[in-house]
C-alpha cells in the first residue's frame, strides 16, 4: 500500500505540483516553438512523453546495473582484474552525461523510425520537430533526476526502483503535455487579439506563460494534503471524526436557529 501511495505522490508531483515547464523551466524551447496549434502541441507532448519513458527506462537500467558503485555488471567485469572488494567500489557516474545523451539520441532515432514506418501522416506533420526532441532539456532532466535518486542516496532502501523512475518520467511527460496544450489553446485565441507590435510572438507567450505559472503555483500546497488523504492511519481517522463532530455541531446550530 505504501508503495502505491509513493507512486501516486511522485506522479502527481511530477505532473502538476512540480510541473517540468512551470516549476523547473525545462523544455521551454518546444513550449515556445511548437505551441501554435493544439493538434501539433498534443502530438509533440505525446512524442515527448513516449521518448521520456523509454529514456527513463534505459537510463535507470544502465545507472543501477553499470554506473553506480557496487553495480552488478561493473563489479562482475571488474572482478576479472582486481579484488572483489575493489570491484565493489567502481564508480562510473562521471560518465553519466555522455551515456544519457547517447541513450536519448538513440531512442529518438528509434521513435523516428517507428513513426515513419507505422504512422506516415503523423511523421509528415512533425517534420523537423521530431529530431529536435533530442535537444529537449526535459528528457535529460528526467534522466538526471532519476540518477540523483538512484546514486548518492545514503540508505539503499531509499533508492528508486524502476516503477518510481517510470512514473516520474511518464507523468512528467503528461505534465509537459498539459502545459503545452493549454498554452497552444491560449495562443490560438491570442492570434485574434490586438497585441502591441513588439510583443507579438515570443514576448507575449512568455508573459502568458508567467500567468500560467501563477496558476500552477496554486498546486504547491496540495502535496501535504494529498499525503494526508492517501495515508489511512490513525491521525486521518481522528481528523475525520473531528470533522463529523463539527458537522453535528453545525447541524445542531442550524436546528437551534430554526427553533428561534
Amino acid at each position: 500500500m505504501n508503495y502505491v501511495i509513493d507512486i501516486m505522490l511522485i506522479a502527481i508531483g511530477a505532473a502538476l505540483i512540480n510541473n517540468f515547464i512551470f516549476y523547473y523551466f525545462v523544455g521551454i524551447c518546444p513550449f515556445i516553438g511548437v505551441s501554435r496549434n493544439v493538434d501539433m502541441a498534443f502530438g509533440m507532448g505525446c512524442a515527448v512523453t513516449f521518448v521520456m519513458s523509454i529514456a527513463a527506462f534505459v537510463s535507470w537500467t544502465i545507472t543501477s546495473l553499470v554506473l553506480i558503485p557496487g553495480a552488478p555488471i561493473s563489479a562482475y567485469i571488474g572482478g576479472f582484474f582486481m579484488t572483489a572488494e575493489a570491484a565493489q567500489k567502481i564508480d562510473l557516474t562521471i560518465l553519466s552525461y555522455i551515456i544519457y545523451i547517447f541513450v536519448i539520441a538513440s531512442s529518438v532515432q528509434f521513435v523516428e523510425m517507428y513513426v515513419r514506418k507505422f504512422f506516415p501522416s503523423l511523421y509528415k506533420s512533425f517534420g523537423v520537430f521530431l529530431p529536435l526532441i533530442t535537444t529537449n532539456c526535459a528528457i535529460l532532466f528526467a534522466c538526471l533526476t532519476i540518477m540523483s535518486h538512484v546514486s548518492g542516496v545514503e540508505n539503499p532502501a531509499d533508492a528508486w526502483d524502476l516503477g518510481r523512475a517510470l512514473s516520474l518520467a511518464f507523468f512528467g511527460g503528461v505534465g509537459f503535455t498539459i502545459a503545452i496544450v493549454v498554452m497552444a489553446g491560449i495562443r490560438e485565441e491570442l492570434d485574434l487579439c490586438d497585441i502591441p507590435k513588439p510583443f507579438r510572438g515570443a514576448a507575449i507567450t512568455l508573459v502568458v506563460g508567467g500567468i500560467l505559472a501563477f496558476a500552477f503555483m496554486g498546486f504547491t500546497g496540495v502535496n501535504s494534503g494529498l499525503r494526508k488523504v492517501l495515508t489511512f492511519d490513525q491521525p486521518v481517522a481522528q481528523v475525520e471524526q473531528n470533522a463529523s463532530a463539527q458537522d453535528r455541531n453545525v447541524q445542531s446550530r442550524i436546528d437551534e436557529m430554526r427553533q428561534n
Binding site: I98, L140, A202, G209, M217
Partner: protein
C-alpha cells in the same frame, strides 16, 4: 565567401544584433531558471562560455572529418565531454554554487545555443573565426542573463550581488524570485528590446 562576415563582425554581432537570448531565442531554459540571483547567473554564463568556446574550437578543428549524417551526434558528444569537465571543476572549486545550480549545469549539453553555433558557424569556418564567434555569442549570452538577473534580484530582494541597493523599506516582491517572475521579466524585456530595435528601422 565574399559575403561571409569577418571574425570581428561575428564578435560584434553576438552582442546585440544576433544576441542569443533576445534575438535568436536560444538557450532559454537556464535564462529563466538560474537568474534569481546575479551570482548564479554569472557563474552559469561563465560555464556556458567555457563549453561554447571549447566545443566551437574542437568542432572547427575536426570539421573536415565530419560526416553529414553523424555530425549532430559528434557535436553532442563533444559538448557532453566539456560539460562533464565544467561540472567537475565547479564541484571542486565552488561547491556551494554547484549545489545551487544543480541540474542546470548538465543541462548545458542540450542548450540549443551551443549546438546551433557549432552547426551554423564552427563546422564551416576556420578556428580563429569560430573562436571569435564563440566569444561574441557567450558575451551576448552573459549580458542577457545579467540583465534578467539584475531586474529580478533588485525587485525581488532589493539586493544586487548581495549588497542592498534599494532602501530597507522596499517591500520585497517575492514573486520576482519565484517561477512566474522569470517568465514575466523575460517577456517584458524581450518586448522592450523588440520595441527599441524596431524603432530605429522605421
Amino acid at each position: 565567401m565574399a559575403d561571409q562576415p569577418t571574425p570581428l563582425e561575428r564578435f560584434i554581432r553576438g552582442i546585440l544584433p544576433e544576441n542569443p537570448v533576445y534575438r535568436q531565442l536560444l538557450g532559454l531554459c537556464p535564462t529563466l531558471a538560474v537568474t534569481n540571483s546575479m551570482k548564479a547567473a554569472i557563474t552559469m554564463a561563465a560555464a556556458v562560455a567555457f563549453v561554447l568556446l571549447c566545443a566551437n574550437t574542437v568542432t572547427s578543428l575536426i570539421r573536415n572529418l565530419l560526416k553529414p549524417h553523424l555530425r549532430i551526434v559528434v557535436f553532442t558528444l563533444t559538448i557532453a565531454t566539456f560539460v562533464t569537465i565544467a561540472d567537475r571543476m565547479l564541484a571542486a572549486y565552488m561547491y556551494q554554487m554547484s549545489k545551487t545550480l544543480g541540474p542546470y549545469i548538465p543541462l548545458i549539453i542540450v542548450n540549443c545555443l551551443i549546438i546551433c553555433r557549432c552547426e551554423v558557424c564552427a563546422s564551416k569556418q576556420p578556428v580563429f573565426t569560430a573562436i571569435s564567434d564563440a566569444t561574441g555569442q557567450s558575451l551576448g549570452y552573459g549580458l542577457a542573463l545579467a540583465s534578467v538577473a539584475g531586474v529580478r534580484e533588485i525587485l525581488g530582494t532589493g539586493m544586487f550581488f548581495g549588497f542592498r541597493v534599494l532602501p530597507a523599506t522596499w517591500p520585497d516582491w517575492a514573486v520576482m524570485v519565484l517561477p512566474p517572475g522569470a517568465f514575466i521579466t523575460l517577456g517584458l524585456l524581450l518586448g522592450a528590446v523588440n520595441w527599441y530595435s524596431g524603432r530605429g528601422a522605421k
